[in-house]
């Protein structure tokens, strides 16, 4: 069950790698760090709703709320603007005029809602389900905002630069995020313990495999998010534009697609999913390492491996690849002698195998140049 749970988290992270690659043909090495950030923002948010075990972060609660409210508002506005509104159809005023008032409204709305939960959390010990949902939304939207800023500040100026420059920048951004997170006024250099929101109970057993409540929560949340993403990419106008841009940005622009907007949207989507994975990971394994710890880097790398195994650039491939890697890893831990210490070897061995046998990934198509 661990394999399925962690696998679905790999899948969530892998989606961000694969979507950005699909559109910009570059590996966003900072993506794994957005996942870590998601876990830590969840921790800070949990502290802010009054749920905490042991140490608090130095991040003041009001800052968490403010950031969360602003970014949640912006995220809601963006989703409405790009995904829902085109579906509602005709007879509406053009996009840009509505965006900002809408963002304002949702900021206020979310802000109040969040405050409500905050008070509830502090006063009554809080409803853990609502608090959990709020923490999740907060982590997702904060990281969405971070993803947006990263793309605008770090990658967009390099749009026409050689690909290697962008790659090096991505590594730089990754280091920056890792080290920013270590600052005393951020999350500090000591590990912390994420408050768990669901009791550690075994729901039922399949054979002799225990299925825990937390596993069900992780898998269910990840599944819902992936179904939503799949719908967004394959059934909405924005998703169609994303796929068009990934095939040819120039021709998409000729169709009237604002390519920069689509790229920003893609980064935000990827970051949002990574943040959700971060939150869920914290629920599954509550011991949070400091942001630059090697374990985090390895997790991000494995998610990247999952994206490659599924076929980089292929969204459904990333989902499948994540699950495969998760299952492989935990089967190795369980059934291979000394498997626990060799688990990474299996993951990266699988990568080598796939690259040798089917370099474009399980679901990837061979790239052929049609003349």
């Amino acid at each position: 069950m661990d394999g399925v749970a962690v696998g679905s988290l790999y899948a969530l992270i892998a989606l961000g790698y694969t979507m950005v690659y699909g559109i910009l043909q570059f590996i966003n090495f900072a993506h794994g760090d957005v996942f870590v950030l998601g876990a830590w923002v969840s921790f800070a948010a949990a502290g802010a709703v009054g749920l905490s075990v042991g140490d608090q972060t130095a991040v003041p609660a009001w800052l968490v709320w403010l950031l969360g409210a602003v970014s949640a508002g912006a995220l809601a506005a963006a989703l409405y603007e790009f995904v829902l509104r085109p579906r509602l159809g005709a007879g509406r005023p053009p996009a840009t005029r509505l965006t900002w008032p809408l963002a304002g409204v949702s900021v206020v709305g979310w802000g109040t809602l969040l405050l409500l939960v905050a008070t509830r959390g502090v006063v009554a010990g809080g409803s853990h389900t609502i608090a959990g949902g709020m923490i999740l939304v907060l982590a997702m939207s904060t990281c969405g905002l971070v993803g947006f800023c990263l793309e605008r500040l770090a990658y967009k100026p390099l749009r026409s630069a050689p690909r290697l420059n962008v790659l090096i920048t991505a590594i730089g951004v990754s280091l920056l995020l890792q080290n920013l997170g270590q600052l005393e006024w951020m999350f500090g250099t000591r590990p912390d313990r994420m408050p768990t929101l669901v009791p550690d109970t075994v729901l039922f057993r399949i054979g002799h495999v225990p299925v825990r409540l937390v596993d069900v929560m992780v898998v269910a949340t990840a599944l819902v998010l992936m179904v939503l993403l799949d719908w967004l990419v394959f059934r909405t106008k924005m998703g169609r534009a994303m796929r068009a841009v990934s095939f040819s940005p120039t021709n998409a622009a000729l169709m009237g697609v604002d390519v920069d907007k689509v790229i920003s949207f893609t980064f935000v989507l990827g970051s949002v999913l990574a943040a959700a994975a971060g939150f869920l990971y914290g629920q599954k394994y509550p011991g949070l390492n400091q942001t630059a710890a090697a374990g985090w880097v390895l997790l991000g790398l494995k998610a990247f491996v999952a994206a490659v195994i599924g076929g980089i650039g292929n969204i459904r491939g990333a989902m499948l690849g994540g699950l495969l890697i998760g299952l492989l890893e935990f089967f190795a831990v369980q059934y291979v002698p000394e498997g626990a210490s060799l688990r990474d070897i299996f993951v990266f061995g699988a990568l080598i195998l796939v690259l040798l046998v089917r370099p474009s990934g399980v679901l990837g198509k061979a790239v052929t140049e049609k003349v």
Binding site: A90, R240, T250, N251, A252, L254, M255, G256, D258, K370
Partner: protein
């Protein structure tokens, strides 16, 4: 004199250090088919790409219905009413034919009208209708060209830019394509047609410009140009 639909004044475009257009000027009148002919590398596609906003001119102006549009991003220019069917057709091979058509109306918000235009475009290109659910990458070259034109029409452009619609197609299909170009024009859409097939282009066009290494070498009534010795020798293969 009325303002032309599209007017290009003394346009200069550079690719890095390469000077691709050396002061091109041309005008496309409302309701006309104007063709821009010339050899490979003369700057025909460069001109269209600049009109669509994919390239920024280093000097000169592009006026659409009297208003300057040069330097504006391509997605805004589509919304003004200029659609392009690009060189090499620019089909999204990872999307279905139907999704490709839907991309054509991406900039529009009037769904009902767009659905009507879709029917109209499909009536014009029955071959495309047969393949709606198919992956666009599986179409033949001629079908892709038809899809590209149908898709451009989905934007309901007032000015349609066609970049080499006959490129690499069998003569019979070229015949069909040019017949449809006439029909589109007869229905009221102004067309700027870039072609290497000068013979065909001069047959359908009202006015023509001949582009030679980034400069307009000749211009005039399409029929007059087709009769002129210089054009016959250089572009129509008549000694």
């Amino acid at each position: 004199m009325t303002t032309p639909m599209l007017q290009i004044d003394d346009l200069h475009v550079h690719y890095g250090a390469i000077h691709a257009l050396h002061g091109v000027s041309l005008a496309v009148g409302q309701g006309q088919i104007v063709t821009l002919i010339g050899c490979n590398g003369a700057g025909k596609s460069t001109t269209l790409r600049t009109v669509s906003g994919l390239l920024r001119p280093t000097a000169g102006r592009v006026l659409f219905e009297g208003k300057p549009i040069h330097g504006r991003p391509p997605h805004e220019i589509v919304r003004l009413g200029i659609a392009q069917s690009p060189e090499g057709r620019g089909i999204f091979a990872n999307l279905t034919v139907d999704e490709n058509l839907a991309m054509g109306s991406f900039a529009r918000r009037d769904r009902a009208e767009a659905a009507r235009d879709r029917e109209r475009a499909l009536d014009l290109f029955p071959r495309v209708r047969e393949r709606l659910k198919q992956n666009a990458g599986t179409l033949s070259g001629g079908e892709q060209q038809m899809l590209a034109m149908a898709r451009a029409l989905m934007a309901r452009p007032r000015l349609l830019l066609l970049d080499e619609p006959s490129l690499g197609l069998a003569p019979q299909i070229v015949q069909t394509i040019f017949k449809i170009i006439r029909e589109i024009n007869a229905a009221g859409t102004t067309i700027l047609l870039v072609e290497q097939n000068a013979h065909k282009a001069l047959e359908v066009a009202h006015r023509a410009y001949v582009l030679e290494v980034g400069r307009i070498a000749m211009e005039g009534d399409a029929r007059d140009l087709a009769r002129s010795d210089a054009v016959r020798k250089a572009y129509l293969g008549v000694a």
